[in-house]
């Protein structure tokens, strides 16, 4: 213990004595930790906001009819062999994506203990217009009485009322982006082009702002029967939205539901796989950048400590001559690297916290494509500061280890003989 105390004492004295040089090394580590905290805070803030919005406004699990249900034409159904009958407006033999007996399927899904609600729906593309403006929109047919239990959109209505969707078939709830693009609001009419060539004119009863531009800019919600008409798919239910007790457990529930129904079941994670992959790639790049900066900080310590050891050969020789063991010498130099690293990491933590506060107030546009926000979305998790402290300290201490071990190999007699300077 005595050797350790002496090593610590000498380390602190040497650090203080060369404070300008050591300050540069401290700032190197601090910069790395600052970057770690700032980038983690910004990236995670954005990602968490996106995910929390998705979990709030999107179905946790969706049962989708992805295998076509082959439908025979009227002619084929009436005649087994070839026939020459003139049939007008008959639909060609088609392949239809549908959930058959959706009520029965919903009942099966609701038997799962983690399923809270099941809502039928139909989704498709349509052309929406109002006045001279038009927009390629995503039409979502829902059961207004049930849908709010699966995707609680009523809470995101900024104008009008969700209950308005129950007032007949000719009503629509539109995203705030659709409202802005077409220049319409509650009480105005919106026209939807039907695939059969007709046009449905609906009254806007609600404007929804989920803060997810990907949804708000294109989505129009209408009663299910209206969607079936516009999309030319009468009586079709193409998916069932499922709300589960714990959205973070949606993958497991989806896997279990998949064994109970003969259709594809995907969780919100699978539905947003592209975005989550992008996040993973983004996180990997951020981790690489942070690691690079931390390593550069570590090299700063390495360079300074190597130089210090070279300059301190005589001191090392005399310390060894008067009774300090090799281990004491290692500790003496290792502690210097560690103190620089820990000080730098703490300084980086502090600077990181201040920077996040500044970033939070900066009016920076994020483009509003994925998540709409007037500035940086910041996630200030305590773990970032712990990571900063741990990684900064480890890199710095690791960088100090090599010169410290090198110092311990200095033989006093080699210095005294002048074999090493």
């Amino acid at each position: 213990m005595t050797g350790l105390r002496i090593a610590l004492f000498l380390a602190v004295r040497q650090l203080v004595d060369r404070w300008k040089l050591n300050l540069a090394a401290v700032l190197g580590v601090a910069l790395g930790v600052l970057t770690l905290i700032a980038m983690s805070g910004v990236m995670n803030g954005f990602q968490q906001e996106f995910l929390s919005q998705i979990v709030r406004v999107a179905p946790h699990v969706r049962v989708v009819a992805s295998t076509p249900d082959v439908e025979t034409s009227v002619i084929d159904r009436r005649h087994a062999g070839p026939a020459a009958i003139d049939v007008r407006n008959d639909r060609a033999a088609g392949r239809e994506l549908r959930i058959t007996a959706p009520s029965d399927v919903a009942a099966v899904l609701l038997e799962h203990p983690d399923v809270i609600a099941v809502c039928p729906g139909l989704e498709g593309r349509t052309l929406a217009s109002a006045g001279n403006m038009d927009l390629g929109a995503l039409l979502l047919g829902v059961d207004p009485a049930q849908q709010d239990r699966c995707t609680p959109l009523a809470g995101y209505v900024v104008e009008g009322e969700w209950a308005g969707l129950r007032m007949g078939r000719q009503v629509a709830a539109i995203g705030v982006g659709v409202s802005e693009t077409l220049g319409i609001g509650v009480g105005d009419r919106i026209r939807l082009a039907s695939v059969t060539g007709g046009v449905e004119s609906l009254r806007v009863v609600a404007v929804i702002d989920t803060n997810v531009p990907a949804l708000d800019d294109v989505r129009i919600l209408v009663p299910l029967s209206m969607a079936q008409t516009v999309l030319g798919r009468p009586d079709i239910v193409a998916h069932l939205d499922v709300r589960v007790a714990d959205p973070l457990d949606a993958d497991r529930v989806a896997d279990e539901l998949a064994t109970r129904v003969p259709w594809d079941v995907e969780s919100w994670r699978e539905a947003n796989e592209n975005m989550l992959s992008l996040f993973s790639l983004q996180n990997a790049i951020v981790a690489f950048v942070i690691a690079a900066i931390l390593v550069v900080g570590g090299f700063g310590i390495l360079a300074i400590q190597v130089m210090l050891v070279l300059q301190k050969h005589r001191d090392i020789a005399i310390l060894r001559a008067i009774g300090l063991r090799r281990g004491d010498i290692v500790v003496c130099f290792l502690v210097q690297g560690a103190l620089i690293a820990v000080t730098g990491a703490l300084l980086g933590d502090l600077a990181g916290a201040l920077l996040l506060d500044v970033l939070r107030t900066l009016p920076v546009s994020n483009g509003g494509v994925i998540v709409d926000s007037p500035g940086f979305l910041i996630c200030e998790a305590p773990r970032f500061y712990v990571w900063g402290l741990v990684f900064g300290s480890l890199v710095g201490t690791g960088a100090g280890l090599v010169p410290a071990l090198r110092a311990a190999t200095v033989e006093p007699v080699d210095v005294l003989r002048g074999r090493i300077a």
Binding site: I6, L10, D17, D315, I318, R320, G323, R325, P412, L416
Partner: protein, 239 residues
């Protein structure tokens, strides 16, 4: 018969890695406690090499070196370090004080390492500096002292922990005559008052003349071992 402070038997030391040469050969030597011995010889005669062996800083290639009864070749690196820290003191041509520490802290360091509490070590360091008439330097750093002062502080560091043997490698080599005299007087005082065994390397005839025993090395061999009943205290340095 008292146990010798230092004893060597047939000691040899080969130096060099690619080009080797025998720096010491067949050194037989016995130094008793309380002796003041000077090692002299021409440059390259092996004086310093022998001193490093006697100080357990190096190991012999041949033969045996016993310091305070212990064969240094049989000791581990940690045991040799402990031996140096507790029983030996070193003074070199250059002071080798730690720049970051005050004189008192430099002097206290070996005692602190030997297990004395830091406050007690510092107190004894100040006593030692006072004893050597350099108490006024206690709180100064090496950069605030002259060369002679630094060397006297280095001697204080070498003797503060009351070693049995002091090994000095040309301690006056870098000093002017006035400071050389001060340092030599100090060593003589320590030799007589503390019964300290001193082995000092020097090539200065004036300095060598002040010791009671003189060993002369030539080409790595001990060629002369002169003992005098009385040395010449205060003999002027030849340089």
């Amino acid at each position: 018969m008292t146990e010798p402070a230092i004893e060597t038997r047939g000691v040899g030391r080969v130096l060099g890695e690619t080009v080797q040469h025998r720096a010491l050969d067949g050194i037989d030597l016995r130094i008793d406690p309380g002796e003041f011995v000077v090692l002299t010889g021409t440059s390259g005669s092996g004086k310093s090499t022998l001193l490093y062996l006697l100080g357990a800083l190096d190991l012999p290639t041949d033969g045996q070196v016993r310091v305070l009864g212990r064969d240094i070749a049989t000791l581990s690196d940690a045991e040799r370090t402990a031996l140096r820290g507790t029983s030996l003191g070193f003074v070199f041509q250059f002071h080798f004080l730690l720049d970051e520490l005050t004189a008192a802290e430099n002097v206290a360091l070996p005692m602190w390492r030997a297990g004395v509490r830091r406050s007690a070590a510092l107190a004894r360091a100040r006593e030692t500096l006072d004893e050597l008439d350099i108490g006024a330097l206690a709180d100064r750093r090496p950069s605030q002292m002259s060369g002679g002062q630094q060397q006297r502080v280095a001697i204080a560091r070498a003797v503060a922990h009351r070693p049995a043997v002091l090994l000095a490698d040309e301690p006056t080599g870098s000093l002017d005559s006035l400071n050389s005299e001060r340092v030599l007087a100090l060593l003589e005082r320590l030799n007589t008052s503390h019964d300290l065994t001193i082995v000092m390397v020097t090539h200065d005839e004036g300095v060598a003349a002040r010791a009671r025993r003189r060993l002369v090395l030539r080409d790595g061999r001990l060629v002369r071992d002169e003992r005098r009943d009385s040395a010449r205290p205060g003999a002027p340095s030849s340089e």
